[in-house]
Amino acid sequence: MQRLSSALFLLGLGLLIAAIFRGMEFGTVAPIVGQAINSAAAEQVGAANFVTAVVLGYRGFDTLLELTILFTAATAGGMVLGKRSPTAKRDPDAGFILQAGADLLFPLLVIVGLYIILHGHLTPGGGFQGGVILASAFFVPILARPGTRMSHTAVSTIEGLAGASFIFIGLLAMFGGEAFLTPLMGQGELGALLSAGSLPVLYLAVGLKVGSELAGLLAQLSESEAVD
């Protein structure tokens, strides 16, 4: 009964959305903010990648918050999943090929991850993408050897310090009399690795934070007791 009515309502929703859709005028409104950023970002922020300029500069506050969300989700997830009882059964280690592959992949992934993070202000990519790769670098060995455990202490320390340093950089600007999260340290030459002021540092913090956060979450999930 409820399914039937749900389906009907969905049909209705579709029709309504179509109706609203028809009334919309696409592309007539100029993306005023976007254009302004496109024309001003090079001078104001100094990052060649304008998306990065937006992510860390114009909307750096959003980024801080999304980091917080990840952090919160990890904290809450940790609380939900709880501690694993030491006697619980574990999956056996994978075979030699997988283990060797994982060992081989680990440094490559770390390097790629760091590269993507550090070039975030120049090319597509950045802290989030790189952070995910970093996380997988640490997670792949765990998949290969379920018996090993990630050091929670290290993970939480990294994530705490990385997040704090993001805010700390923002606060530094404040103590300098500027607004919270104002980019620091000059802009440098557009397109150079050491440009865009404090943005790469921020991205590094983001990358580390995302990496440790995700790694921690994945480890939590994998460590939680099997259902069956």
Binding site: Q2, S5, S6, F9, G12, L13, L16
Partner: protein
């Protein structure tokens, strides 16, 4: 500090003082003294009561959210305040002696009791002093909750009915608030004067609504039909002196508020212009009939009670009908009758509750089927009750007769035979009922276990005697009270009753109680003369009587008490259909069903489903707009 400030401050102080003194025997005496002091302060304002001063304002004013709040006393307030403080004084006196000891010994807290009483007095004074609609509402709420407090001190039954009262009272208060807000939107302020000015411009539809809301709200306190279900048991089970106080004055606050709103502000003439579907049935008629139905219904319900306190409480509801009816007639006689009845009722209702409490104090029960013959043991209480019931029944020479006479006279002039008939039916029912009360309590066979019962203690007898005296004296010289009534009438803009000490001089049939009572007393004298001129009578034992040859002993209980009026009940018994209970139950069941449905709504399997529904319906509305 104006005198009113002093009075209110002292009243508030009484609450605090009583609280501080705590649960001790002396609390009651202190409270009594403080009430006496309040009475003295009130007397210092007696210019109000004799119409020499229009009003006395309090220097306390507030302005909240742009609405002014102020308080003042006029003749009407003074009149009601006099009754309030008097009732509190005597009730507190009554409670201070042995009753208090017993109450405390039984685990009751005298502190709570006296604080509740003092709080009631204070809140009533605040209500009576209200100088605008908002302060009226605030006072109203205070009174409601204060009386809830004192009711909740009683037995579990009382608490349950107090709960019911809260439900009704708060719903009523909401109705009042609604009416207030409607008035505000039409007159732009909560001031009395602005309301009065706005009334002529109001459409009859909205005025109807306002009147109905006010009546529903204030009617709850008066226990006007159909809001009466809570009162009798709640009052009856309240600790004795509390019941006397509540029975004397508490419900009358509803009358006060109605008088202020309907008579002083809307005006009875405007009510009479407000017509229902039929052109000959106006708002005034509707209210009058409500009053009369309340009177008849409550009186005949009282007739069926077999607990003295409940019987009295039901009568209290019924007598309220007289008062409202009188005020609604709104000529000089009728309104005087209605207002005077407030005073009269307070006096005899208090004395009756006190005698019943005294009986309970001595015998432990108020069940009319378990008492009888106490007149020989508690003669003074008997006298008090006799005077009380004559007052309640409205027979000469007591004061209850005067107010009823005024009412009847007004109804005759008004030409409303059915209302007249209704009120007489109420009186007759009352006579039947109060006779049953006194017969089953004080007359008839004395039960074996009551042979050793003593007269009530003096702390009880004194208030009872004072009240009885008032009942008689104000019946003998009704002009004493009519002075106050007249200034109350003047205060609310009613025609003022021309009166003298003995009553109402009129060429078209007046009343002079001094003469009537005198001839009555003389008649009794002659009767006594004739009687005692006969041979000496021999006093015999109670059981020495003619029982068709049957041998009676004290162990055999043959008091005729249960189902006292079988013939009448055989006929009208089926008319008691409890329809109001059904009404209430039906309402509760409806709410219950709806509530269940709503809970069902919140216990849905897919919470998101409603989100979808909401989006779809809202977007539909957006698109279809």
């Amino acid at each position: 500090m104006t005198p009113l400030d002093q009075l209110l401050a002292l009243s508030a102080l009484t609450v605090v003082a009583v609280w501080l003194i705590g649960n001790r025997q002396v609390t009651g005496w202190n409270a009594t003294i403080l009430y006496a002091a309040q009475g003295v302060l009130l007397m210092m304002m007696s210019d109000l009561g004799y119409g020499e001063v229009q009003s006395i304002a309090s220097s306390l004013t507030f302005k909240v959210l742009g609405h002014g709040l102020h308080w003042r006393f006029d003749g009407l307030s003074w009149f009601f305040a006099l009754i309030t403080i008097g009732a509190a004084f005597l009730a507190s006196w009554f409670a201070s002696g042995e009753w208090g000891q017993r109450y405390r010994a039984a685990g009751g807290s005298l502190r709570l009791f006296h604080v509740a009483l003092a709080l009631n007095v204070f809140s009533m004074l605040v209500l009576l002093a209200s100088g605008d609609l908002l302060s009226l509402f605030i006072g109203w709420e205070l009174v409601s909750w204060a009386s809830f407090l004192i009711m909740a001190l009683g037995s579990a039954t009382a608490t349950r009915y107090a709960m019911r009262y809260v439900t009704y009272a708060f719903a009523g208060a909401m109705a009042v608030l609604m009416a207030l807000v409607m008035v505000y939107t039409r007159s732009g302020s909560f001031e009395f004067q602005d309301f009065r000015d706005a009334v002529p411009a109001m459409s009859s539809g909205s005025l109807w609504m306002i009147v109905i809301l006010f009546v529903a709200g204030f009617g709850v306190k008066m226990a006007l039909i159909p809001f009466h279900l809570w009162q009798a048991k709640a009052y009856a089970e309240t600790p004795g002196p509390g019941a006397a106080f509540l029975g004397a004055i508490s419900s009358r606050m509803g009358l006060f508020a109605l008088v202020v709103v309907l008579v002083q502000l809307v005006g009875v003439e405007r009510l009479a212009d407000l017509q229902l579907v039929f052109p000959f049935f106006s708002a005034r008629d509707l209210l009058s009939w409500l009053a009369v139905l309340t009177l008849i219904f409550a009186t005949f319900t009282a007739l069926r009670q077999h607990d003295a306190r409940r019987l009295l409480a039901w009568h209290g509801i019924g007598q309220g009908g007289y008062m409202l009816l009188g005020v609604l007639i709104a000529d000089d006689l009728g309104s005087a009758g209605g207002l005077m009845h407030v005073f009269n009722h307070a006096t005899y209702q208090a004395v009756l509750f006190m005698t019943v409490t005294a009986v309970i104090h001595r015998t432990g029960t108020s069940d009319l089927n378990k008492l009888g013959g106490l007149v020989t043991r508690m003669p003074l209480s008997f006298v008090a009750m006799l005077i009380g019931i004559i007052g309640l029944a409205g027979l000469p020479p007591m004061n209850g007769f005067v107010s009823k006479w005024l009412l009847y006279r007004a109804l005759i002039i008004d030409g409303s035979p059915l209302l007249f008939l209704g009120s007489v039916v109420g009186t007759l029912g009352t006579i039947l009922s109060v006779y049953k009360l006194i017969h089953n309590t004080f007359l008839g066979q004395l039960r074996l276990e009551h042979v050793e019962v003593e007269e009530a203690p003096s702390s009880m007898i004194w208030p009872m005697m004072i009240l009885s005296t008032i009942v008689f004296v104000t019946g003998y010289f009704p002009g004493l009270v009519l002075d106050w009534v007249a200034s109350a009438q003047a205060a609310v803009g009613l025609p003022v009753l021309a009166h003298n000490l003995g009553g109402v001089p009129s060429h078209k049939g007046g009343l002079d109680m001094i003469w009537v009572v005198s001839v009555l007393l003389a008649g009794f004298g002659i009767g006594a003369l004739v009687f005692f001129s006969g041979g000496r009578s021999k006093r015999v034992h109670q059981l020495d009587n003619y029982a068709g040859g049957h041998f009676l002993t004290a162990e055999t209980r043959y008091q005729y008490s249960d189902n006292f009026y079988p013939g009448l009940m055989h006929l009208i018994g089926p008319w008691y259909r409890k329809s109001f209970r059904w009404l209430e139950r039906g309402f509760v069941s409806t709410v219950d069903t709806l509530s269940q449905a709503m809970q069902g709504f919140y216990r849905v399997v897919h919470p998101s489903f409603y989100l979808l529904v909401a989006v779809v319906s809202a977007l539909t509305w957006v698109v279809a707009r």
